[in-house]
């Protein structure tokens, strides 16, 4: 599939494809992405497996934007792709964030950190289109990354160094939101941040949904590789997730392994 547009968003790269045959996508779902040409070209023949990437936005007419942080052999190659380059795409995969029940009397509170902003901004876009008021809290390391937030003027932004928005993590704005009234939290970001959010939501009995990440080979339930431990045993993030209810999580870690449950 041809890439129709690329642009930078802070230190991240946006890749847009147009697929008129694409099924409807739900925020929180992901695709397996690999470059059609040159994939595997980095040192030692990596990357080899496709990379699971959430979409940042969808125009409802087959135009989908992915957000890539070029930090490893696979994401670096994806981030180097230009308009007209070919992208192999399998998806949409996974469950996505649950639909809000019409009877829901809580306000959605969306919390994201770093590259985790992609599915959260997709959800924010969907809620905004439906006219649903919601909180949007975005955390970044510093101004270079936080450039991405400029496109979302309604977001509350926190940076570790205070260069943009308030100084600190997403936890202070989250606490203010939880104090303001009943909330349902939707979160994506690094495991340490998600664990802090999960623990805070657990303390206040706040329903919460987490878009998690794990090393993934196939993305559609065949390899059983993307295992994460929950209170209900091991689940596969690609088919049982990637969005998991906080009610079944005893902890969120970078390995998927949670001790002491």
């Amino acid at each position: 599939m041809s890439i129709v547009e690329t642009r930078s968003l802070g230190l991240y790269q946006v890749i847009k494809v147009q697929d008129d045959q694409a099924p409807e996508v739900r925020p929180g779902q992901f695709h397996m992405l690999s470059a059609t040409v040159g994939w595997g070209g980095e040192g030692g023949g990596r990357p080899w497996l496709a990379r699971a990437i959430s979409f940042l936005s969808s125009d409802g007419n087959g135009g989908i934007e992915f957000l890539v942080d070029g930090i490893g052999p696979g994401t670096r190659q994806l981030a180097l792709l230009k308009q007209g380059d070919q992208l192999d795409l399998v998806g949409p995969l996974g469950n996505g964030f649950p639909e809000l029940a019409a009877s829901e009397e809580t306000t959605p509170c969306l919390v994201a950190g770093g590259i985790g902003i992609a599915p959260i901004l997709a959800l924010s876009q969907q809620l905004a289109l439906a006219g649903t008021e919601h909180d949007l809290i975005l955390g970044f390391r510093n101004a270079e990354f936080a450039d991405a937030a400029a496109a979302w003027p309604d977001a509350t932004v926190a940076t570790d160094d205070g260069s943009v928005g308030e100084q600190g993590t997403v936890m202070a704005p989250l606490a203010r939101a939880l104090d303001a009234g009943p909330r349902t939290v939707y979160a994506c970001g690094p495991p340490l941040m998600l664990e802090a959010v999960r623990s805070r939501c657990e303390e206040s009995d706040t329903p919460a949904w987490f878009a998690l990440e794990a090393p993934m080979a196939c993305g559609f339930g065949a390899c059983f590789g993307c295992a994460v431990e929950t209170k209900n045993g091991i689940v596969r993030l690609c088919v049982d997730g990637p969005v998991i209810s906080g009610s079944v999580l005893a902890g969120i870690t970078s390995t998927g392994r949670v001790d002491g449950q």
């Binding site: 030692g44 080899w48 559609f220 339930g221 295992a227 390995t255």
Partner: protein, 288 residues
Amino acid sequence: MSVNFCGIELAHPVVNSSGTFDPLAARRAFGDAAFTNFPFSAHVTKTITVAARQGNRPPRLWEAPTSLINSIGLPNKGIERWLAEDYPQLRELPVPLIVNVMGFDTDELIQLVGAVAQLADVVAIELNVSCPNVETGTIIGSDPDECSRTVNAVRGLTTLPLIVKLTPNATDPAAVALAAQEAGADAISMINTLRGLALDPTTLEPWLGGGTGGVSGPAVKAVALAQTASVCAAVSIPIIGMGGIDSGHAAREFLAAGATLVAVGTASFTDPTAGSRISAELGAMTAH
């Protein structure tokens, strides 16, 4: 390109490796086309055990150059739930069904083979012998005597073809294959994954939850091809060759080494339709 394997007529020689393609998951993700345009000429199930298994603790995957190291640990719902929930759906596949089982002792294996042999839509049974003898600790597939005893224990239970899935982690896979043949196995499939270790780049501790893992992918193809050629020379029963096959050319190499069928494994992870592509490429090559 149709081929006869143990009396079973298959449309082409490309099947899937056990545990690398789940038709039910594929149908949920990609719709009915995953069944109707099934990429393989037969479906080999993921290993089924007597008891349900969660599998190994995460992390379970590590990407290495053109390979994958996995420590999955045979998660499955156990034979009873598989019979009740999965088999009725799998029998709707447009291709024959080969069921892969593993017993942790002889009684378990007898129970599994006995149950599967009764199923009308199963055409063959594959024995995963990459497990230890619980009394001696020896990996059954690494030892000719152990392998012989295992095949003997179930040979009389069924007239269905019995396929022994060999491990490459053996001193002499050809001797194990020969022992399997003499004990009455109808075919050999090979190779299972090669034992490998991935270290966390920061801590230098084992990365995988299970400690070591199994290496698959194009990086193991040369090893698989050598072992396949060696086993094909030693036995007269048919071989399902596999290990890093990701193209029609690679499939053709295993057939040239003497395999009757080839299996595609890890390639289906990077492209769920890899089996169709590989059989089409193979067909185009052999047509000339």
